[in-house]
Symmetry: C2
Subunit: 138 residues, 2 copies
DNA sequence: AAAAACTTGCAACTCAGTTGCAAGTTTTTT
DNA sequence: AAAAAACTTGCAACTGAGTTGCAAGTTTTT
């Protein structure tokens, strides 16, 4: 896994540092999306919160992670599985928020359906957030 | 219009006050969704920002307005057109954010399409946010 | 091994949103 | 119509997320 992490960072022209390695490790080991606070909690006292903010910012810009707008207006982050890059994300999958366990999941198997808007609207991007009960909580 | 406003407030068992009347008036006169800051700006110095927060909170609880999660994780509010009430919203329409003029619109004509999730997921609510260019900016 | 380029932690700050409380307003009761 | 009760408002003080400048530390390049 350390190998994979190095590869991802190098591939994105980022220096390999303790903080970045640790945070990327968290994302790789996690099946659901992480909020800033989750990351702070999971890294313990090891990194300054400013470093966490800056690392997330960098990962977003490089297309290593994508942000997920949740229906309660907090922000979560998840790994990009496709080859996203600098401003060119293409995660057209549905996002799911479980109202029982609170997890936010990328449903990679399901793409966002097309929708027909009234004449005159030009669609650039569609996001879909489904709330409900997840597989594990059913 | 003052009549309609009184009716809405009374119907929701709310006392008719200057602040509530003014804010409801703004919503009725507006075709796009309003952010907290828009309301503060449009009411001038007339009301304390705490009053604006509390009024929006009250309107939300009563189902007079609904909140819209935008893709940039700010919150906007729009009038409920259906008869929503205390925690029972049913605005199943698509929301549109124009990347040119910045307006957020309720597309009442288009309901959110059904989506099939993998077995085991129970869907409770679906939200769809479309980004693009609106009719007026085309 | 030295220089250059980049990353980190710290302290200080900003800005949105919240809370308790006393004064003011609206509604209900008499 | 006046008094009482119930509710709303503004103020001041606070909280917590996120940002910035800068000096010290680390990583990468030469
Ligand atoms: Mn995702
Ligand atoms: Mn709407
Ligand atoms: Zn769950
Ligand atoms: Zn527009």
């Amino acid at each position: 896994m350390q190998e994979q992490i190095q590869k991802i960072l190098k591939h994105n022209q980022l220096s390999v540092t303790g903080g970045r390695t640790k945070i990327l490790e968290l994302f790789l080991a996690q099946d659901d999306a992480l909020a800033h606070a989750d990351i702070e909690r999971k890294t313990g006292e090891k990194f300054d919160r400013v470093t966490v903010y800056r690392t997330l910012q960098t990962f977003l810009e490089k297309g290593i992670i994508h942000s997920i707008p949740t229906s309660d207006n907090s922000v979560k982050y998840a790994l990009c599985k496709d080859n996203c890059s600098e401003g060119h994300h293409h995660d057209h999958h549905v996002h799911f928020m479980c109202s029982v366990c609170g997890k936010t999941l990328c449903i990679d198997e399901v793409s966002v359906p097309v929708v027909n808007l009234p004449a005159g609207y030009k669609v650039e991007q569609i996001q879909m957030i489904v709330t409900g009960v997840c597989k594990d909580c059913a």
